[in-house]
Amino acid sequence: MAEEMRIVLRNYGKIDPLNIDEYIAAGGYKALEKAKGMNQIDLIEEVKKSNLRGRGGAGFNCGQKWFFAYQTNADQKYVVCNADEGEPGTYKDRLIMQGDPQSVLEGMAVCGYAIGANKGFIYCRGEYPYVVDILNQAIDQAKAKGVLGDFDIEVRMGAGAYVCGEETALIESIEGHRGEPRFKPPFPGVEGLWGKPTIINNVETFANIPVIVDKGGDWYAAIGAPSYPGTKVLTLTGDVNNKTFFEVPTSTTIREVVYGLGGGVAGGKKFKAVQIGGTSGGFIPESLLDTAISFDAMSAIGATLGSGAVFVMDESRDMVDVVAEITRFFEHESCGKCAPCREGTARMNELVGKIKDGKGSAADIALLKKLGGVMSIACLCGLGQAAPAPVLTTLGHFAADYEDKLV
């Protein structure tokens, strides 16, 4: 039976998030103090040793990323916290920021010290104005206490564009431009915000940092799946009994999450599919439920861990209906910069809609597969590359739902 393990949610519900004294009393800011007692390279090595990988979805080794920014010489460097939590069904970053904002600030300050940055930004989703208030109060309190030292943090608010969760589009947005991704390389660690070395990590990643510094990289690396250690905060939605959140070690399987913590499919119905990682996540059938909630295990089955959203669908759900909503979402949220995404998301929505309306043919299915295949390898950024995944995985695992509708 799966059990929760709270690292990033260690203080959630236990302390008053708007009282920094309670955070400090619970051991807060000791890690920052400890970090500042280490030299930068040793600190980065410790983070590397933990094998912490980014919790925003890309799963890049956090310490390695920090090292790139550290070793790039520049008169100014930045730390950016990606709090543009726009992935439907995902609210883990909100939980962390609402329940324990200081842990995020502390994680950012540790990063700032490690790479030599004295300025941080939190880019917060536009739909979270109340979180912005909490963050600003937390920053004021931390400044008043002097715990951040010379590290300054500012909150910037998004304006509702999903693509701004993509790190380089986020940078463009902070700079005051249209939220469009940049091509990489150069990566932000070398050339990011205003052309300066910039570390962008997800809220959940930063919230892990104080604990890693405090308890050591080895301790962290031993938790969960070895290649993607630690915990993951999951948010359960859809046709599941317990529509709530859990933080579990990354060795936990999908089956344990859905049937154990999640309490199984609601209303006594049969399970059909689960989509993990947000709107662009792959659809997973019953036969693959014993896969662990870790980055590599998910990749191996053609799915993604992504943001950790877990969307459960029962037998009554028609996959084409569900996917049609998703393709509509991506047509709306494509920024329009690169041709295959700008045109491709619209065509994908058109073709899925055609099939849904009973007007599609086998040729349309073939075209969807070709289009999806091209988009996933040719689009400029992760949005366009990931957008076809729901279509391609449902065409693979639930082909009957499509075929039943063909003319």
Partner: protein
């Protein structure tokens, strides 16, 4: 250096080279669409994608730097399927009216569609149905054809610092539009037309007025007179399959007569005249403590720019009209009188390398002859179309001379077509006027070339005159910011709106690269060298004009016909 293998060919390229550059160096052609050789890399059309060993994703060759040991494949089935699919996607959202398009047979998308033999596009044809914008007399926009490459935006914002264009909307609805999604006329657009050169397709073009010319030629009551701007000859040959600069002037003149022009005259004549008026204006300002530095006024894109962005500095602009407008005012007065022609019958057409000239001719103040001074402005490209339609074989056509009284010109007028030319022409004359000595070497090399800002000092009998030359409005901005701040060290500044000067004007044959601009500049100086007379004040017909009509530079008649002043545009700018 990095060792890379592209399509099995091993090579070594400098670190930081893109796959595209590396492939070019060994003769492997990778298709591009958003890429522009003189602009920042965009990486947004994805037509240049290639396979890189070890990478799941395809890499856009235009932006991806090579690394040591990189193995690239540019022609695999996977690559070809991706490129074809991307082209099909772009084409399915692009009007299929190539036959009617201003860029038919000169379109990068059309070329790619041919190279990748796009036949039955599996995606349904769905264009956006956006309205064309004909709000300006010079440039139209057809946003339905826009492929969102962003090249026009860079030309407008980075090269020209005008900021008239930007992206509006998101996803499939994104369009490139004038500021605040309004019309071009309401934007700060200066009508320089550099966006036209940048556009790979037919989304922006010149407002075509060829039919007006054909109607005038067909009208027995109209006497159609034309003037040719200095920069046109070096480029017109490109429109009819000749090498840059190889169209002989007399054959060009003969070709225009074949089209039906009654009289062929030359803007070069009024270019020489401009030197006398503007040179004397400069000397007057220097002597009497007038507003300095004085800037040139020949480039209508520049005039639109200063009226929009530096209206407080309009007193710095020379009061001289542009050579086109001086010509227009004289053709229906002095020349009509000389030729004993009723000026009401004259239909005055100018052939210009420029789109902004169409606007300039329509300015309400340009009616000093008692008529609209210039009735019609056609670009080099429009004349090219007429030449192609007429089927003239320029290799076999015998040459012809210009008509009298406003057809003679000097080498000093020829070089007006290149950035720095007005300055050099002015220096050739001013030097002799001030010092009373003959200038033995007329070549002021320092004023020449495509470099954005050039400066020079000239000693005029002990008075050192400092001059500067800018081409491209972003460069003009640098000089004008100094003027506004009161720190400009110059007495005289030449500004041409377009990079390289008029040879790179918005009405010239579609000019993708600066290398082509340099080629035209070089041909301009070849033409200058070949002129017997190379100083404006020695132009015999200009001398006659002063003797019989104007009497003196800056005199009463000049003031009336050849000078003007400009006013603030009061446009919304960013």
């Amino acid at each position: 250096m990095n060792n890379v293998t592209i399509d099995g060919i091993k090579t070594s390229v400098p670190e930081g080279s893109t796959i595209l550059k590396a492939a070019e160096s060994i003769g492997v052609k990778i298709p591009t669409l958003c890429n522009h050789p003189d602009q920042a890399v965009k990486g947004n059309c994805r037509v240049c994608v290639c396979e890189v060993e070890g990478s799941r994703l395809l890499s856009a060759a235009c932006v991806m730097p090579v690394w040591e040991g990189m193995v690239v494949k540019t022609r695999t089935p996977k690559v070809i399927e991706a490129r074809k699919t991307i082209l099909e996607l772009i084409l399915s959202n692009h009007p299929q009216d190539c036959l009617n398009c201003i860029r038919n047979q000169n379109c990068e998308l059309q070329t790619l569609a041919e190279e990748y033999f796009i036949r039955d596009n599996p995606f349904s044809q769905k264009t956006r149905g956006l309205a064309k914008d004909y709000s300006t007399p010079a440039i139209f926009r057809d946003p339905d054809k826009c492929i969102n490459c962003g090249r026009c935006i860079e030309a407008c914002s980075v090269i020209q610092n005008v900021h008239a264009l930007g992206k509006v909307g998101r996803g499939n609805k994104v369009i490139v539009a004038p500021m605040l999604n309004g019309s071009l006329a309401d934007s700060p657009c200066v009508m320089c037309g550099q966006c036209i050169h940048a556009c790979p397709v037919g989304a922006i073009g010149e407002v075509e007025e060829i039919d007006k010319l054909l109607a005038a030629i067909a009208d027995p009551d109209k006497i159609v007179v034309t003037q040719i701007a200095p920069a046109v000859r070096v480029a017109i040959g490109e429109e009819v399959g000749m090498e840059t600069g190889t169209m002989p002037m007399d054959v060009f003149v003969s070709g225009l007569r074949q089209l039906g022009f009654d009289h062929v005259l030359h803007t070069n004549f009024t270019a020489d005249l401009t030197i006398l008026e503007e040179g004397n204006e400069l000397l007057k300002r220097l002597k009497e403590g007038g507003t300095l530095p004085m800037t040139t006024s020949c480039s209508p894109g520049w005039i639109n720019f200063i009226e929009t962005y530096y209206p407080d500095l309009l007193d710095n602009v020379s009061t001289c009209k542009s050579p086109q407008q001086m010509f227009g005012a004289l053709a229906k007065t002095y020349w009509a009188d000389k030729m004993n022609i009723d000026p009401a019958k004259i239909y005055s057409v100018s052939i210009m390398p420029c789109t902004a000239k169409k606007f300039e001719a329509s300015r309400p103040e340009m009616v000093d002859s008692g008529f609209r001074d210039v009735d019609l402005v056609l670009t080099t490209r429009e004349i090219g179309r007429l030449f192609r339609m007429s089927g003239i074989d320029f290799d076999k056509l015998a040459g012809a001379d210009f008509d009298s009284w406003m057809g003679a010109y000097t080498g000093a007028a020829v070089i007006f077509g290149a950035s720095g030319g007005v300055m050099e022409a002015a220096l050739r004359t001013v030097y002799e006027v001030v010092t009373g000595q003959t200038l033995e070497n007329v070549n002021f090399e320092v004023t020449r070339g495509i470099e954005g800002i050039k400066e020079a000092e000239v000693d005029l009998n002990g008075t050192v005159v400092k001059v500067a030359i800018a081409n491209g409005l972003a460069n003009a901005t640098k000089l004008m910011d100094e003027v506004r701040a009161g720190t400009s060290p110059y007495h005289f500044i030449e500004i041409m709106a377009c990079p390289g000067g008029c040879i790179g004007g918005g009405g010239q044959p579609i000019t993708k690269t600066n290398a082509k601009r340099v080629e035209r500049i070089n041909q301009i100086y070849v033409e200058d060298e070949a002129c017997e007379i190379r100083k404006s004040h020695e132009n015999p017909e200009v001398k006659t004009l002063y003797e019989e009509f104007l009497h003196e530079p800056l005199g009463h008649q000049s003031h009336h016909l050849l000078h003007t002043h400009y006013t603030a545009k009061n446009k919304k700018v960013l």
